[in-house]
């Protein structure tokens, strides 16, 4: 958070007023997040009292990552008006890229351990072959594909988590924005991109294990001694920190001149262009930056989920992301967080079978079956009757928005 403060003064158009004074919601949010993180950590199985189960800590940590992705979505859609149906693809891509290292490094550990008892010490090639068979045997291969070239190195793979989705967003955004694809056209195009990516990953010869995806990601290489209950808390805290940083970054971006321009682009793109601003450039920056944030969120999410497969990237996931933001309230960062948290937690509660069934006499509503219907119609209702979402309710209570 100190980083954000230092960065403040370096940027042009800054009004020399601290961020938290211009946007007090940042302080409220950070405070709430810190308290929440502390409470859960203290109550967790791994580090504290054991009142909160490890699996629930994981769910909470994953939810925080989804909230971060929702902030990215809110930036690009709520503030800049680009309804991207591709940000969950970036999210998944981040997961894949970190998953490759997790899977490779752990398999390497296992292979080396199993070859230790061999009659001859294994050569590098033998280890590589064994890893290849171990990972790709399931799709009928044993060669390690080219895309796994850097999978052995955590720093490179971490860099790729930023670079690959960032470059993809940059190229795609450049192509789309320069030909002035806007509105629903752009949404459809991003959806097509998402579909193309997920279909590509579904192939067995994509080099990423087809529809098996990557698995066993919850096991950190070299840390077999640390129990999952502790690892889950680490990831939970990391997710909370990432969410806090992401919130600060987003709040900083939307509070200055940059924020004013992207909001203006949302409201009337043509007018901003006539005023001499490089609309495409601003859009491209927002699109690419949010793609990277989403990818980082994904890179934190999937080690907690433990498994990633192409179905996660399917277009519907990206639409859900938009749905969360819409339910939470677009154009407010806390709205995105509230939407993602409420809907995804409710969703896992309803589909987990814990929600009580509703007997109607002639028919019993089992929420596992009817949750989607409720969500769908609930979403329509929010769009129709509460265009500002749940965040709009907060606004009414506080009577002070974040500049909207």
């Amino acid at each position: 958070m100190a980083d954000a403060k230092m960065a403040d003064s370096a940027l042009p158009g800054f009004t020399h007023q601290p961020l938290w004074k211009r946007n007090p919601s940042v302080l409220v949010f950070t405070g709430l997040l810190a308290v929440f993180t502390l409470v859960i950590t203290v109550l967790s199985e791994g580090l504290g009292l054991g009142l909160v189960s490890t699996s629930f800590v994981k769910i909470l940590g994953m939810t925080l990552c989804l909230c971060l992705a929702a902030i990215a979505m809110d930036l690009v859609w709520g503030y800049c008006g680009i309804l991207s149906l591709g940000h969950f693809a970036f999210f998944g891509l981040g997961g894949y890229l970190i998953g490759m290292w997790l899977m490779y490094a752990r398999t390497e550990d296992i292979v080396i351990a199993s070859l230790a008892g061999a009659e001859l010490p294994p050569t590098a090639q033998e280890i590589r072959d064994a890893i290849g068979t171990q990972i790709f045997g399931v799709v009928g291969g044993s060669e390690i594909p080219l895309v796994w070239s850097f999978a052995h190195s955590l720093p490179i793979q971490l860099a790729l988590v930023v670079l690959v989705p960032g470059l993809l967003a940059l190229v795609f955004g450049w192509l789309a924005f320069r030909s002035r694809v806007t509105g629903v056209y752009l949404s459809i195009l991003t959806q097509a991109m998402t579909l193309a990516l997920s279909l590509y990953l579904f192939q067995n010869d994509s080099g990423l294990r087809g529809n098996n995806g990557l698995s066993g990601l919850q096991n950190l290489p070299g840390l077999d001694d640390v129990p999952q209950s502790v690892v889950s808390v680490w990831f939970f805290i990391a997710s909370a920190v990432a969410l806090g940083l992401g919130y600060w970054l987003a709040a900083f971006l939307v509070s200055g001149k940059f924020g004013n321009i992207i909001r203006a682009i949302r409201d009337d793109e043509t007018r901003i262009r006539f005023l001499g601003y490089d609309v495409e450039g601003y859009k491209l920056v927002v699109f690419t930056l949010t793609a990277i944030i989403a990818a980082l969120a994904g890179a934190l999410y999937y080690p907690q989920a433990g498994i990633i497969n192409p179905a996660e990237i399917a277009p519907i996931a990206s639409i859900y992301l938009a749905v969360w933001v819409a339910i939470g309230g677009r154009g407010r960062l806390y709205g995105a967080v509230i939407g993602a948290a409420v809907v995804s937690l409710l969703s896992s509660w309803f589909t987990g079978g814990q929600a009580p069934s509703v007997p109607l006499g002639f028919y019993t509503i089992d929420w596992v079956d009817w949750w989607q219907v409720l969500l769908g119609f609930g979403f329509v209702a929010v769009t129709l009757f509460a265009p500002n979402g749940l965040g709009g309710l907060v606004d009414r209570l506080v009577r002070k928005g974040d500049g909207r």
Binding site: T123, S179, Y185, A192, L195, V323, A326, V373, L375, V380
Partner: protein, 677 residues
């Protein structure tokens, strides 16, 4: 049982008349006449009555028949053929089916049908029942499976000339499935007397095919091969491909007369190790130990924690292992390793060539030439088939997307629930079939009903949701998405997750087959026709009716249309109903060839969007162009990568994203003021 046997024998007799009518090849007739004479003049065997001509031949070969083996059965068959005795075919069939018995008392052969206490005997010549025999008095002949196989193929030639066309046809089919060299002559012999023109053509064609494979004369084979130029049938390719099959071989010097297809470059056409393996097989080089063998040798030669002086712990790299192995080889413990360079050097001194399995160079040349002409013809036909497939896919996309295009054109909203209207149509078809079991009738009822129900759902959605989100296209997109997931789940709750069948009527089964390459299923033709009908219908509505005029006006400029007295709300509602209704129709059509599931529509929704975006908004011709382009594109990509339809879709979408760069407004862009927004 005996009565059954009699009937059977009578049928057999009827069949057995055939060989007599068959004109024997060449000089066989004269010989046959002589043979018959000889048989008749021969003194009769001690029997109640004089033996018939067949029995006489049988008696002449009695030992070979009683104890048949693969070597002797041919002489029996030849003798039977030569005698041209009536009933020879029946005898062969009976013999094969273990229906022949030999009477121990006089050695005569009969057809015997097993009864409770023995056999009911039938004379092979007269076909008359000659009474019963106890089991102990006769021996049943049990030829082994090898002999039975020979008998079966011998029977084919009798069947080929059978008066019953069904028998001839089944014999022909038997040869087509698995031909043998021995069948060529009988087949040739049977062509001339063939009365049925269609069967004659098939026989002639099959004769040419067999000639390619079995004729001893190279000229005849070449003539037959050349006669098939441009013929794309699978059987021709199956007959020709073995002729041009090659085997890689290594020679120090290629012997004269070797039918060489081409030289192979080691490391290029053939992997280095494989080429070296050929060298070893040909005895031209020493076998090279493989990596695995070297590893095993190292393990076997460990002593005191070291191999040939190299400590085992140091053997963790390939270089160290090679070093240790070289030391072992130097000590003479293991065969020496062969390095890559040594392999290359050894290969440089010899020729690696692909040798035709067929020794005759003229035959292979003719086969290559014919195959080349076939592949040209094949490419043409494959293109045609691809075009048909693309047309069919395009018509499906057109049906799925046209409703979307109309609503998008008029209202500028993307209806994410469009796919679910397709699903509603498909389920309507399924439900109708539960009540109306006649498939033709049920489809005729389902089509308008699906239109009506989907249109109703569309109108309801327009009135309840979309109207209230006017001028907020992104919100509309998301709201309709909410409806989409709700509808999908409701369908899942009602119909379950398993696929429901929507059965096509029998007259839609089958396919229109032009040749072995070009064919298209009847359902797809029907869908194509359906798409054409709706294209015509929509063109008529838009161009010739009041509604169409108003729709076009609202599409071009809603505000102006409104000020000219057109009620845009009414137009929106009707358009939405029309678009959704066509989606319902598309659902019935899609359900006919795909299983009906709750996510049936979502599989088509992205393609439909693509069709609209690529084609251009608010124009039927644009949608048609978009559907054609996407359909053909997908089929073409699938053709180049047939094993992977997923990759095809990926590449197609990437292509579309790039296409949008050059024509952001689609193939057919809307002109006028409306084009601006």
């Amino acid at each position: 049982m005996p009565r059954f046997a009699l009937v059977l024998t009578a049928i057999m007799l009827a069949i057995a008349i055939a060989p007599r009518a068959m004109p024997g090849p060449h000089s066989a007739l004269a010989q046959t006449a002589d043979g018959t004479m000889a048989v008749v003049t021969e003194p009769a065997a001690p029997a109640p009555s004089a033996p018939g001509p067949l029995q006489a031949v049988l008696q002449a070969n009695a030992d070979a028949i009683a104890k048949p083996s693969r070597t002797t059965v041919d002489t029996v068959i030849a003798a039977l053929l030569e005698s041209n005795a009536p009933g020879a075919a029946t005898f062969l069939a009976q013999w094969r089916d273990r229906g022949v018995v030999q009477r121990k008392a006089d050695g005569l052969f009969f057809y015997g049908v097993e009864t409770a206490d023995g056999f009911s005997l039938t004379d092979p010549d007269t076909g008359k029942n000659t009474g019963n025999a106890a089991k102990a008095d006769v021996t049943q002949l049990r030829p082994n499976s090898g002999v039975r196989g020979v008998l079966s193929s011998a029977l084919v030639q009798f069947q080929l000339a059978d008066p019953d066309i069904a028998v001839r046809e089944s014999a022909l089919i038997a040869i087509e499935r698995g031909a043998e060299a021995s069948q060529l002559e009988p087949l040739r012999a049977s062509i001339e007397a063939e009365s049925d023109a269609g069967l004659k053509a098939r026989k002639t064609r099959l004769e040419r095919l067999l000639t390619i494979q079995f004729d001893p004369s190279a000229e005849a084979r070449i003539a037959a091969i050349e006669s098939f130029a441009g013929d794309i049938s699978v059987d021709v390719r199956a007959a020709l491909n073995p002729l041009v099959a090659t085997t890689p071989k290594a020679f120090a010097e290629v012997p004269a007369g070797t039918n060489v297809a081409r030289a192979l470059a080691p490391g290029g056409d053939i992997p280095l190790d494989d080429a070296y393996g050929l060298l070893v097989t040909a005895g031209l080089a020493q076998a090279a130990p493989t990596l695995a063998e070297m590893r095993a040798a190292l393990i076997a030669n460990r002593a005191d924690g070291a191999v040939a002086g190299v400590p085992v712990a140091a053997l963790g790299s390939q270089a160290a292992r090679m070093d240790a192995y070289a030391r072992l080889a130097a000590a003479g413990t293991v065969p020496p390793p062969v390095t890559e360079d040594a392999k290359r050097a050894a290969l440089a001194t010899v020729s690696i060539v692909a040798v035709y399995n067929e020794p005759d160079a003229n035959v292979t040349a003719a086969a290559e030439a014919t195959l080349a002409s076939i592949s040209r013809s094949l490419a043409l036909n494959q293109t045609l088939d691809l075009a048909l497939d693309a047309l069919s896919l395009a018509s499906i996309y057109f049906l799925a997307a046209i409703g979307l295009a109309i609503t998008f054109g008029v209202m500028r909203v993307i209806n994410m629930a469009h796919g679910e209207f397709i699903m509603i149509g498909a389920y309507t078809g399924y439900v109708v079939q539960q009540f109306i079991t006649d498939y033709t009738l049920s489809i005729l009822v389902a089509l308008p009903l699906a239109f009506f129900i989907a249109a109703l759902a569309g109108v309801a959605m327009e009135r309840l949701v979309i109207r209230h989100l006017a001028r907020r296209p992104l919100e509309t997109l998301l709201a309709t998405f909410g409806i989409s997931i709700a509808l999908q789940q409701i369908a899942k709750n009602i119909f379950g997750t398993q696929a429901r069948p929507l059965t096509a009527p029998a007259w839609l089964d089958g396919a229109w087959v032009v040749n072995d390459v070009v064919s298209i299923s009847t359902i797809r033709i029907a869908i194509f026709v359906l798409a054409l009908i709706f294209l015509a219908l929509l063109l008529f509505i838009l161009a010739r009716t009041r509604l169409g005029l108003e729709v076009r006006a609202v599409t071009q400029n809603p505000a102006m249309a409104s000020s000219m007295g057109i009620n845009p709300d009414r137009i929106n509602m009707l358009t939405f109903g029309l678009g959704s209704g066509i989606a319902g129709i598309a659902g019935v059509a899609i359900g006919l060839f795909a299983k009906v599931t709750s996510d049936l529509g979502s599989g088509y929704i992205v393609q439909s969007f693509m069709t609209v975006v690529v084609g251009g908004v608010g124009n039927i011709w644009g949608t048609l162009a978009g559907a054609s382009m996407i359909g053909s594109l997908q089929k073409v990509i699938e053709f180049f990568n047939p094993s992977n339809t997923l990759a095809a879709q990926t590449y197609m979408i990437i292509f579309i994203i790039i296409f949008i760069q050059f024509r952001p407004k689609g193939i057919i862009a809307l002109k006028g003021r409306a084009a601006g927004d």
